[in-house]
Symmetry: C2
Subunit: 446 residues, 2 copies
């Protein structure tokens, strides 16, 4: 692998202009910034934190090349700022919720404490990095909810790399989906980096290249004799099902086993039922039925509710772009400066002041409520913000997956549901309420 | 810049399993693959091609490291395939529509001719690369439509890096938006790479850090005395407008000019009108009014329709995630193999067979219809598919921007509209119709 590209310029210009002006005017005190969402998308009861490991890595790459600095100078930025950026390395203190944690509006997902200029400069990178994986993990979590609600044990596989928004997004989607319970991904680079299972067999082009469907299916099975999955909808699904049944018998002598069939179009419930019935009649109960094509959490729920005998789902576009909510109202806001709590009071965009901790209380293993408190207050329950440390990618992914599974188990059923979720109880501590009052007073709005 | 990372494993596993099986069975003839959309999202009359330059670069990076090959071997792939991939370099023939071109369903955006294995392997990378920029350019084009329909000359700036789906999406969004008529971007790395204008001044955090809004605005203006833009909605917009008016007078002696104000919340029409009126009364007609915050094409159209005196729009999230249509039904399908046209006949997912050219006819400078033809047929009109060559990023971006502007001018008004667009006439040539019939016959469906 080549050395990683410096990321200092993955930054909105205004971070640099502000940084320069902070330096100009001696505004170099310690700042605390909060990363939080201001609300939940429709029909979402919670979000799933993801992307903090990527953030840990990327903050170390927040550096500048000489060419970067020359470009910033051309943009009219001052020598003082350029001097500050030359040799920059991020040394702020970062606390974050562990990946896989369920999170609610105004709870800090990440909190960064650093000199104001430093904390300000990383804003764009911090937002972009956490937003991407949190968007996708939160969507993938809904597919897992659909499975759980049907008490189904079918496997879901991420097929979304082709329509994810870029290379980053393709890899992040594979990871975020795995964290949220998917069995693995079709994307080789992601499987390799995270050491997660990689799935994939054949596409329609394979059958088309052979022209003769039977010959194509036989050829593919011979190439992968240990139970591969054959795609049966290039032409006629029922005809192809019969071909698979014949092949299973004909190729058995050669030691070729067929592991499954995949249906990627048509009425997936009806086709899965028909294929299952024919396979069972033919004594091929061990051959699995996979479906794919335009699936999202609602389709998965519907397919399972209709009792379709599906062993696996390939889930792509809808999940990786989070089509019902492709963005979150994620913000990175100044919460304290030089030890003083501060807040934004503009219409509809208020923030919560002060450096914070979030405490989560449980009863009989169920989450019963969170409290957003000042970091210097006493709190009851499990503190959610922890120092962010970079871990081995494979291990970190497994830890996050376990955390997600635990949280899903602990979330109140009425919150962890696909439609009309009940709000989860999040309170503000007395210390936060006092800080709000003080901040509004200073802003002349109390 | 460090050397670019090899991209051979940004590939779904099934491309490799198919490749292996093609090699096993001697399916190594010449193939033609088509990249096209199967339909348009709701209320979209056309899409804008973008991303082919990135594709040209990335195909050269479709290579494998020794570690990649070792991982693929662990996935059970054969020595034959690994040998094929070792030292792989993409040598297919790529034709593509120029970036900025308006495109319609089933028209090939990209067509790749290569030995089957080679053409198959690059599928995931090709789809991902074209999908991203085409999604965003097509959305950004709608913002430009909103401006054109209002005959407004306001500038639009991409503010979306923070909520784009990843680092490459942030950069791609800046580029795609610029191609589609935006004045520039806030994202430094994109501005630098494409040599496009970079914009940005200040955020709320700046004002909050100072606490005193007047002091904050004065300090920022002093740091950037040549006409910067001041954010006026951290606390109370009307109060901040008065501060700006006072500052313009007070700081004039120091040679400090104020260039504009930005409003990021509240009722943007009412606030822009109020701010404009007060600035004009104060003799500050040259101070521009910028608005931002949750803008999309419909909001821009509404703001302009209501006559708000807005000089510039900061457009972020909605555009960069293309929130109404975050994915396109983009497919990469085998169109011909060993010189024979082939097609997919499965329900709802039919493709058009044969290697193709698209001809676009004009009358009085207006587009009047396209014909999708076989590449070996005679055609009338402007052929849209051209050999893809990699150009300097800055030049290529300018060329694409000009092409987009020309296409927008040439598109029928009833097609290039925000709501209920009329369908644009796209016909199939006699040669394509014949190829369909022949392919259906072979598939037993004629």
């Amino acid at each position: 692998m080549p050395p990683a590209e410096p990321l200092g310029t993955f930054t909105d210009l205004y971070e640099f202009t502000m940084a320069q002006s902070y330096l100009d005017h001696g505004q170099t005190g310690e700042a605390v910034f909060d990363l939080h969402v201001r609300g939940l998308p429709t029909d979402r009861g919670f979000l799933t934190v993801c992307g903090t490991q990527a953030l840990a890595r990327r903050l170390d790459r927040f550096t500048f090349t000489d060419e970067d600095l020359a470009f910033l100078e051309e943009q009219g930025l001052s020598g003082d700022l350029i001097g500050y950026l030359d040799g920059f390395s991020f040394e702020g203190r970062v606390r974050a919720m562990p990946e896989g944690t369920a999170v609610f509006p105004y709870e800090p997902i990440v909190q960064i404490e650093a000199p104001l200029v430093m904390a300000q400069l990383v804003e764009t990178l911090v937002l972009n990095t956490i937003h991407l994986q949190t968007v996708i993990a939160s969507k993938a979590a809904r597919c897992q909810l659909a499975l759980d609600q049907a008490e189904a044990s079918a496997a879901m596989v991420d097929f979304g790399a082709r329509r994810a928004h870029g290379l980053d997004a393709g890899r992040a989607a594979a990871r975020a989906a795995y964290v949220a319970g998917f069995a693995g991904t079709s994307l080789v680079s992601a499987a390799r980096e995270m050491q997660i299972p990689c799935f994939g067999t054949m596409a329609h082009a394979y059958v088309q290249a052979f022209g003769d469907e039977r010959e194509a299916l036989a050829s593919f099975a011979r190439s992968f004799p240990d139970g591969t999955t054959l795609l049966i909808d290039t032409f006629d699904i029922q005809q192809a099902t019969e071909m698979v049944i014949e092949l299973a018998e004909d190729l058995a002598d050669e030691g070729v086993e067929i592991g499954g069939v995949r249906i990627d179009s048509g009425d997936l419930v009806a086709e899965a039922e028909r294929a299952r019935a024919r396979l069972d009649e033919a004594g091929l109960a061990d051959v699995d039925v996979f479906v794919s094509g335009g699936l999202d959490e609602h389709e998965i729920a519907r397919i399972l509710a209709e009792g379709a005998p599906v062993d696996g789902f390939g889930v792509g576009t809808s999940m990786v772009v989070s089509d019902d909510a492709p963005s979150l109202n994620l913000s990175y806001k100044l919460a304290a400066y030089e030890g003083e709590p501060v807040m934004k009071t503009s219409e509809g965009k208020r923030t919560l002041p002060a450096a914070k901790q979030v405490y989560r209380r449980f009863e009989d293993g169920r989450m019963i409520g969170d409290v957003i408190a000042r970091v210097d207050e006493e709190g009851n329950g499990q503190p959610l913000l922890e120092p962010l440390t970079y871990r081995d990618p494979a291990k970190a992914t497994q830890v996050a997956r376990q955390r997600f599974a635990d949280q899903l188990e602990a979330l109140p059923a009425e919150v962890a549901t696909l439609e009309d979720p009940a709000p989860y109880a999040v309170e503000r501590s007395a210390g936060i309420e006092d800080a709000i009052e003080a901040a509004l007073e200073r802003a002349g709005q109390a």
